[in-house]
Assembly symmetry: D2
Homo-oligomer: 207 residues x 4
């Protein structure tokens, strides 16, 4: 069974024809996932859409989340990419996880959320500091909302304290980042493949 991955880029900036550092990190993971025969369904630049504030799956007229939600749930793997601001995930990343909060009440007859059996990994970049905490916040939010996390579910880069360098401006990708991306992709494809074959059984409400 072929696996499919989709990526979210939660940068604060809408597309302007230029790539972002978050895109570069996502791209690195995607290139490694492709080596594992995972198809890529593209990157959603969330800032290009109108994701309304709220905690339901459809916040009404003009809300682009229903379409994004459909695309995300059509994939087996979610690459959740975000920049770091103030040592924390972006407000757009938070917005997305708030909308996933609705999964809690969208369970099937076995109590399984729509995200069950799907694997999420995190891609984080920043000028300096914050990657571990960003992954902590996202691991908790995504896992609470039903996503499974493979061993080592994050690939990140940040510069030295109070630095200004962007990941995309590095002369080359550091070897540590490359080798981490390869391992993240390997673990992700392995776990997603098993879960696609054998979905969580869930628990019937009368069990």
């Amino acid at each position: 069974m072929a696996l499919t991955a989709i990526a979210l880029n939660c940068t604060l900036k809408a597309s302007d024809g230029e790539s972002s550092s978050t895109d570069k990190m996502i791209g690195l993971l995607v290139s490694e996932l492709k080596k594992k025969d995972v198809d890529f369904a593209g990157t959603i630049r969330v800032a290009d859409y109108n994701v309304k504030p709220g905690v339901t799956s459809d916040e009404g007229e003009g809300d682009d989340w229903p379409e994004l939600r459909r695309r995300i749930l059509a994939a087996d793997i979610l690459i959740f990419g975000t920049p770091i601001w103030l040592g924390q995930p972006s407000s757009i990343a938070k917005r997305v996880t708030e909308r996933m909060d609705a999964f809690l009440s969208e369970t099937d007859e076995k109590g399984r959320m729509p995200s069950y059996g799907k694997v999420a990994v995190v891609a984080v970049v920043g000028n300096e500091d914050g990657a571990h905490h960003v992954s902590a916040e996202l691991f908790q939010a995504l896992n609470d909302m039903g996503w499974t996390l493979p061993a080592g579910a994050v690939c990140y880069w940040v510069g030295e304290a109070m630095g200004k360098t962007d990941f995309q401006d590095l002369p080359q990708i550091p070897e540590k980042v490359s080798s981490t991306a390869a391992m993240v992709a390997s673990n992700t494809a392995h776990l997603a493949g098993m879960l696609k074959e054998r979905q969580y059984p869930g628990v019937a409400s009368d069990e």
Copy 2:
């Protein structure tokens, strides 16, 4: 293949013949795991041991971590139990994850840490507030150290803000907690079983 689970109780109190609230939450998860045919290797009350400060796997004379480490890694499933203090995991929980930091340099020829293929879940109790953040801190620390997290990898209880009630003094376990425990156990056993059959392949250093 039979699965085995082991539990850590990171309460600040050494054993005194009485159970703790953390024990009660661990016990709830264990009873559900047993229904899934998981063997239970017992609960390690960490405060009963001398786990020396440090980030290696053996901090020398008198250090009990090498023995605890061996027991933890002999199991397929880790139930990581902690109380909440100041809205955060206990200092003993932090001590344990610091000792696991050594896994980063204990990889095999395919780059896999000793925790690869093993599943961790979190059991959290407090008088009030802090469970989501405790799970965030532990999810990140455990996942960074190679543990895989099944969908919904936490079972918790806390009381109302600034309350004083202990989980073990509740007249009965709230239904929401019971049903969560059943789902956590089901997801955990399912994922651990698959990973035991098919370990992560890892990445050879020359790939």
Copy 3:
């Protein structure tokens, strides 16, 4: 010198004529601050405005932040109110702190940000769990952006784990919450008064 306080309500919902639980907690703090002779400049329901994503003080056409920023900085005290979603501050709260990131480059000749000498406190409500972490995230973001935090700079309420009760639907405000609000207000007014009289001296760049 009379002190002035302003409040931010970072609920995900725009005004609809009804009060929110966050409003109720803000109102409690305001009533206590008034007893300390602090004037109240009103609550900004952020969801009613178009606060564009970004990290500058003016993100261009249609951006309401410049006006909100002006109002916030005209006050001596900021009550930063947010609900809890997924155990974390709302995406709107995060949006606001991202916009304050610009303060870092808006320092005067003594290196002081526009927020220097001003005091911030946090008002948090949720159905269950998360208040300590929400205050941690906001304390760090606000303090990094130059706000001073008085002793005990948070007033919060959350219900029992996995509960559904709203703060505004409680039959009465719990005594612990009332007494906390009185102390927060007392500390806030005391500290803000001293800082208004004697602003931080800052550091000249050639010191």
Copy 4:
């Protein structure tokens, strides 16, 4: 009135005659505080003491906390220094804040904890990543326990992602770190001086 500062070094290593990176960051803050005429009461290397697990002010025989507590509360300013492990404060840092939890029940007749009127700042170093989150965890714990936080209450250094460099091995202290230390010290001395002159009034229980 002369001000006094004391420092905690929460490194995992007991003293061995060599300085630690955390010591170096503490030393930088101390040198700046001395320029503001603050006396320095020394650094407590917590790992050299037996700080027993618990949440009371005296955990009985062999517990060194009562003596450390006395020394900490004799100063006006606390420099709370910690290294970063797994992107989080050290287990020893957490141990210390757990012991401060007792302040909550040690209030005077005006509801003031023993830490009221005292100022805390954080000194953080790590090989890579985690400083913002460490300060968030400590800001929340310290502020909940009654400490006041001046504007910009942290001085930190971390290296590039996944790096190995220690702060104390840098050829020289980065200018950004030096200038931050000067500002932290200036803000700290200013605020501590005012609070020493005019303590928080507190709230009488019958108000």
